[in-house]
Symmetry: C2
Subunit: 570 residues, 2 copies
Amino acid sequence: MAQICRVDVDSGEIKYEAVPETWERLGGRALGARILLDEVPPLCDPLGRHNKLIFAPGTVVGHMVSSCDRISVCGKSPLTGGVKEANAGGTTGLKLVWLGLHALIIEGRPGDPETSSVLYLSQDEARLEPADDLAGLGIYASAERLLDRFGDDVGIAMIGPAGEMQMTAAGVVHLDKDRVPGRISARGGLGALMGSKGLKAIVIDDAGASMPPLVDKELFNDARKRYIKAIQEHPQTSEIYTDYGTAAMVAMCNAKSGIPTRNFSAGRFEHAEEISGEMLHDLIAQRGGEGEHAHACMPGCTIRCSNVFADGDGETIVSPIEYETIGLLGSNLGIDSLDTIGELNVVINDLGLDTIEIGAVLGVVAEAGFMEWGDGERAAELLEEIRQDTMLGRALGGGAGLAGKVLGVERVPVAKNQAISAYDPRAIKGTGVTYATSPQGADHTCGLTIRSDVDQTQPEGQADVSKDAQIKMAGYDSLGICLMGGFAFGQDLTMVRDMVNGRYGWGVGDDYLLEVGRQALRLEREFNRRAGFTTADDRLPEWMTEEPLPPLDTVFDVPAEDLDTIFDDV
Amino acid sequence: MAQICRVDVDSGEIKYEAVPETWERLGGRALGARILLDEVPPLCDPLGRHNKLIFAPGTVVGHMVSSCDRISVCGKSPLTGGVKEANAGGTTGLKLVWLGLHALIIEGRPGDPETSSVLYLSQDEARLEPADDLAGLGIYASAERLLDRFGDDVGIAMIGPAGEMQMTAAGVVHLDKDRVPGRISARGGLGALMGSKGLKAIVIDDAGASMPPLVDKELFNDARKRYIKAIQEHPQTSEIYTDYGTAAMVAMCNAKSGIPTRNFSAGRFEHAEEISGEMLHDLIAQRGGEGEHAHACMPGCTIRCSNVFADGDGETIVSPIEYETIGLLGSNLGIDSLDTIGELNVVINDLGLDTIEIGAVLGVVAEAGFMEWGDGERAAELLEEIRQDTMLGRALGGGAGLAGKVLGVERVPVAKNQAISAYDPRAIKGTGVTYATSPQGADHTCGLTIRSDVDQTQPEGQADVSKDAQIKMAGYDSLGICLMGGFAFGQDLTMVRDMVNGRYGWGVGDDYLLEVGRQALRLEREFNRRAGFTTADDRLPEWMTEEPLPPLDTVFDVPAEDLDTIFDDV
């Protein structure tokens, strides 16, 4: 029987508890929201003693099925003040499940605010130990030391200096299957929440542990087979993501005039080709060495959308480079070099920050005249301010909303104080609806609509496509399934049904994915309601509704009524 | 017939309109809220084109009755995001009424964001003229130039550099009756709103204008006589405020253990005597010269709670020094010298900032370790950062909430993102209820309860005393009556009744003050509701409910239910 592991960082007590009945059939994002509703006062200070940091593997996690082992990190968001779930690949989810954990809940607050500790979890033991030697250390050096200390086979979830400084753009970083700390539960400041608990890292040692049981092995394996076949046959897998990764979106978004350019002042970037997926692919191929264009972040992944980007000597700059990072640190800053983007990316990773949020911050800084467009060196200097914990660095590490308030910039791309990612909502309006209405704040992974069968530039019908996408994504995020796997699962919902029934024998129906998604959204909206959110929060910034985006010259004009009623029947 | 003057800073058009019927019987704070509800989209960007800056004199303004000529400046607050009214003495209200204005509404946004203009209003003319020579100039130098240009008898409402930079701790500054720019509509960032309209100053030339008519002169004058007698007989006037001004509160709040000390970490200051009203009085008396301890800010005021604080050579340092400034810039920063406080005060005035908000900011900065307690020189350096418009200065000029977010400080004294003033809510709990629940955000002038007949340190009954005080203050703020005048008016409500009936012949009843107050609160709460405020916003910071305040060792423990139901029958 899976258990709840509860860690009180104040008393140091670690308890294992039976899973409450109402939590049993929930996983990932939905479980996180349920626990928040049950245990966290909605009006609490997100960085105070009453908030909790929750690690909840998705429902189907544990069997190394391609793209199905994601971890949801949850809490009341220090960035948005609302419900927050940020999921990631890597090995954290898998290993927590192998240790028999339904969820890990970190609570309390250390008596000494300077505390830095590591939580070690294995089959035999759970303990908090001091990590003063890691305090202030970057992600890469920390990972190295932790792997030295605990062995090469552990999973690690950790924070960088930004999380330790409780900066609200900080994320929680996970090792990928190659022990590279490059998979990030990036959004919403959960790294700051982990920092407020005095926790530098969680080490998950699954030595001796085994895969969770299957109630109906045959049913499960049949579903898995159909799913893998669907992945392989899906054109987006073989022709796009394996070759180009998410960076394929550069060309697509540029063509749709929706790539953020110079702080969202335009939707097309004149140097898009130079930062495109094709360019990335070719550079990796030319340079050889450690570079890799079809890289899996989780064991068993057949899509392999990740990559390892190497320099001219074939040495790794960063792994991976994702489209959203290219969009926010590239075109959004007027930077036209993948090498520069990669170099900024690795520093932001090392600090343990969200590249989307920090890219948006730098766009705001440039807009305010404190950085030239395209000036990667100045961007690097500003990142160094963050590392040095200067007053200026603190203003940057708090996210785009904060930077905008500090610098008096009107054109700040945020919703619920979280940065809009690399799909301009004036060009891809359904995703704009998602940004505005998602309980999570602006987040393309909560319901990307760029492939929806609708005129992306017209206001009509956008709430419907966003709602469908949001329900599905909330379902996938609760099950532990990657957005990429969703392309295949979405074609035939019986695959999810059979995988869940094969594993648990719950007898769920065809619509299980959607039911779970709806439930997750209801729970999240209820938490936000109690935290004081209203329809007033389900809006994009005023300037996006009034300032036309060149070259389409469209504004975000989905009617408020569509935003206010989108979840009426969810 | 009074009129509405409407100025569009985009087109430059200035129109005079009849007063809509529903606005006729409203003045000051209530009128501001009504106009906001009628004309300003509640979700608009406070610094964008849709917000409006409203100057609304109180209902009884115009006759130089002691303490009865206040001006309400209103708008959607750039600091709180909600309804905002900040009233002040001086001559702005009086002169607007003499020009026959029921309200002045500034709307639109200049095409060129660098625009700096002056609005000139007289009996014959209304015009916008360029004020490029004043751009970036401090309050004192600006006042001097404007008086040179427009003559010594005009009224002026203006902003300093902080307002021009649209910093959200900036206020609107008015001339007092001696042409000193020391009366400030300080709270809520209305200076930033005025800055966003490209308006440096409003010059009100009432040459040739005359007092508004009285419908029943005898009734009015009789009420005025009774009121003046009540003022003169009130012990708080003659024995306290005329001699010591608001600075008398230093001793009182220190005795009640509620004076903010070192960023609200204690309620008693060991050097309270050195910054007390008695000390201020004695210093002024000793030093002679320009110093004055019983100074009137408005023509006709018999209370004269204001002062002129001079240095050892008898030259003015600043006028006035108020208790809240002493509390926030003195004890709150561990500063024990009135000279130092006065020197910081005059710089903050010159920048056009709110001393309460900036005092709270500096407390947060010291808490974060970027300033030593008691270090006035460092405080002055930080103010210079604001003047220089550095990124750091911008983080400070945005108020305590913003500074706290930037610096990662938990102990930030704000409610609705506006700084708590110099009455710690853990020691004076009714005022804590006001801070939490006032639609205006934390503001002692919205309902100070320090003299209420209740045990200030117990949670019981605080909502009732706060409610009574909030209703009365909303009434006074709508009528144009100073808090100080309220001590006398409050003793017999027929004085307000007769003054209003004497002036307008409306036949209002004994409870008119309370009716107006209730109405103002209802309008304000409705605007805030539409702007997305909920009971979640009617809270003090978590740490104030958990961290005991020495030496009383009390926390703010008024039950949430009392906060949530306080306005149920209003």
